[in-house]
Each structure stands twice: as structure tokens, then as C-alpha cells.
Amino acid sequence: MIILGTILTLVFSAVLIAALLVAAGVFTWVERRVLGFFQERLGPNRVGPFGFLQWVADTVKLITKEDAAPPGADLFAYRLAPVLASAPVLAGFGVIAFAPQMSVAALDMGLIFAMGMLALTVYGMVLGAWASRNRYAMLGGLRAGAQLLAYESFLGLSLMGVVLLTGSFNLGQIVAAQGDLWFVVQQPLGCLLFLIAGTAAAHRLPFDLQESEQDLVAGFMTEYSGMSFALFFLGEYLAILLVAALATTLFFGGWHGPWLPGPVWFGVKMGVIAFAFIWVRAALPRPRYDQLITFAWKAALPLALLNLLLTGALVVLGGQP
């Protein structure tokens, strides 16, 4: 019985990993098409119907491309960094509950585990930057480190309101507690802060100063090519999907919804949030670096603490768990 359960878990995680890799690939195509429309151009539309197979062509190109390392690079760290940028994010999906009882590992510390996995991606960036022995990369790596510290602080705090209302870190139980009312209604500030911090954790525009093309070429991944480069990008797109999945779970009712089965609702909500990431990228300019850090420490962190304090007071006064 235990062996059967282990085999089932292994099969489920293999299917999940495959689905996520395909989803990340398709997402790159969606992003390029949608950004194209936002900018009044067409985007990639040649390969397959509506250019849908563009991501397959890109993958083949990246796999066959030479994976070069610059002279003077520290090869051990240089090769390890792309793995550290993508593998933890995949592990983070292990605790997401796509439907009741439908997760690889229903850890009772699921939420903290997923946040820890998101935080680990910074090693990919700083190690890759250091190992490249390139000044642009180094600047990007330093920015990545400072940004992680600034945003990690209120990323966790913004979620604690939801944890207080549920009384559990288990993602399945958090969704189950939202049968009547989504937490976005009770925790609007927490939701907003989480989405901001999530954008920064996935280092997406307008929080992508560690790889901003205009002043740092591509920041920490300047020297990378071929599949190592692809792994960095895979990590970034998977991080967007993970943040979207966490937002769906924590604030938008997870699998709850009428008519359609639970996992379909989960996927639809995830897709809408991921689409919003593209929208934000198209709409907002990039702030200056000091503005970014100042906002995190002086505005977002106090707001997250205030949210936690108010929620705690309400829970205590209301006599909820």
C-alpha cells in the first residue's frame, strides 16, 4: 500500500513537472504575442497556427546552441547557478493543492516551504553573477541580493493575515477555508502587498532591475547562452506561475467555483493572474533602484505589519480560531 502510494506520487510529480515545463513554454509565446498586441505589432506568428509552435522552435534552438562559458569563469558555480534558479521553483509546486487531496506533498508547513523555495532562487542569480566574472553581471547580482532582502521581508508578512484567518500553513486547508468568501475580500491590503512582492520575487518588470537590459545588458545572466540561459528563463517563468498559483490559493479561492471541476478553476485563475503579470509589464515603467528599495522598506513593510496587527486584533476580538 505504501509502495503503491509512492509510485502514484512519483507519477503525479512527473506529470506535474512535464505540465509545468510545457506551461512555461506556452507562457513565453503568450507573453510575446500579448506584448506585441500591447505595442501595436503582431509578435511571433509564423510557426504553426497563430505562431503557437514558436516556443517549440525556441526550445530546439536553445538545446542545440553552444553553451559557452567566459574565460576566467568559475565553472563549478557557473554551471550550478542556472540549476539553482529553476529547480527550487519546481520543488515549490510540490505543496500546491490543485484540488482537494490533489497535491504532491500536503505539508502542514506548505506555505513556508513554498516561500523558502522562492527565496532560494536568489542563489542562482548571485552565484551566476559572481561566477561570470563580468562587471555587468556582478552589478545585477548585487541588486538581486538587496532586492531579495527588501522584498522577502514583507512577502511573508503579507501572507500571515491569511494564515491567522485560517489557522493553518497547509495550502489545502487555506483553500478549504474559502468556500464561502475569498480571502481577497477580507485581506485586500495583504493581497495587494503579496502581488507586489510576488512580482519582485519573480523578478519581473517593474522589479527586474537585476537584469534591466538598458543599463546592465542582461544583468546576472549576461554571459549565459544556450540551455543555461534557458534554465534562467525557465526559472523566471516558473516563478511567475508559482506566484500566480500561490495568489490563487491564498486569496482567490483556489479550486472553488461553480460548474467546472476544481483543477480547471485553479488553472483558469492562475492563467488570469499570470496574464496580469504581462499586462503590468506592458503598462508600467521601471523605477529607479533607490526608489524600489525605499518603497519596500519604508512603505510596504510597515503596511504589511499594520495589516498583520489589524487582522490579529480582529481575530482575537471576533473569537475566531
Binding site: M115, G116, L142, G145, F169
Partner: protein
């Protein structure tokens, strides 16, 4: 199953900890320190202390080590600088080794003491609620003292980070 995994992860932590103190390149040492922290977290999970395991990843591996990396990246690690460091080290490993040996003595002396081998129950998961009740109940004073330390560190950082006079945009 869980005990085997905990043992395996613990051995991994020991091996990588040895690698941490024997690497010449400080960034490589940090990579192995990351492996140490992650395998410690894995053994915590296997032993049922899932909160400690998750906090280990988020706080130690996620935040504290990131600060280390941040500092170390700015250190000169060219082959020439490494050569100088090696030449300078010489017998520098002797005093730390002696201190480590001193720490080991009570560890072995305790083996015969009564109640020393009552091992913690394996795999009995500790819930976050129980842990919180303990931390903010019987151990509340200790938690407050620890937070006082953090406050002191915060004030120290404020002191070190202050500027002589405000400059530019602020």
C-alpha cells in the same frame, strides 16, 4: 523509512560542513554551507519537526545566507588572492581544531549519564500551534530576550549606517 532518511540527510550535512571549512574559495564554501543548511532542513522534516525544517530553509538558507553571499561577492577571489590567503593560513587551523575538540569532550562524557539515550520519538510531527504555545507560554521570556538582541542589532545597524550629512536625493 523516516529514520533512514534523517540519517542520510544528517550525514550529507556533516560531509558538506567538512567541505565548507576545507574549501579555499570562500564562495565555494558558501555553496557547501547552503547544502549543509538544506540537508539539515531535510533531516528536520524527516524527524517530524516540519516548522523547524521550513524555517531553516526560509530564514537561514533564504535570508541569512543571502546576506553572506552578498558580502562575500564583493571580496577579491582571483587565483592570485587565493594563493596569498593559502600562504597566510599556515597553521591557523590549529586553534579552531583545539576548540572543537574541547566541545567534543562533554559530548562523549555525557554518553554514560542517566537519561542521555532517551531519543526523541521519531516521526511524531510537532504542529505549529503546539510550538507557538510553547514559545509564547513557558518560554516567552527567552523569546523576548532573543528579540531584545535583534533590537540591539537593529540599533547598531542604524548607528553604522547613518550618514554624516544628508546628500543628494533622499
Amino acid at each position: 523509512m523516516n529514520a533512514t532518511f534523517a540519517l542520510w540527510a544528517g550525514s550529507l550535512a556533516l560531509i558538506s560542513a567538512l567541505l565548507v571549512v576545507t574549501r579555499a574559495s570562500v564562495v565555494h564554501a558558501l555553496i557547501w554551507l547552503l547544502v549543509t543548511l538544506l540537508s539539515l532542513s531535510a533531516s528536520f522534516f524527516a524527524l517530524g519537526a516540519s516548522f523547524a525544517g521550513a524555517a531553516q530553509i526560509l530564514i537561514y538558507a533564504g535570508a541569512i545566507l543571502a546576506v553572506f553571499v552578498f558580502v562575500v561577492m564583493t571580496v577579491d577571489a582571483s587565483p592570485k588572492a587565493l594563493e596569498q590567503e593559502r600562504a597566510r593560513l599556515g597553521r591557523a587551523w590549529v586553534p579552531p581544531a583545539l576548540v572543537a575538540a574541547l566541545v567534543l569532550v562533554p559530548l562523549f562524557a555525557w554518553r554514560g549519564a542517566p537519561g542521555a539515550d532517551t531519543a526523541a520519538p521519531m516521526g511524531a510531527a510537532v504542529s505549529a500551534t503546539d510550538l507557538g504555545m510553547l514559545l509564547f507560554g513557558p518560554w516567552a521570556a527567552v523569546v523576548e530576550i532573543a528579540s531584545g538582541l535583534l533590537l540591539a542589532a537593529l540599533m547598531g545597524a542604524r548607528h553604522l549606517g547613518r550618514r554624516g550629512k544628508p546628500e543628494g536625493r533622499g
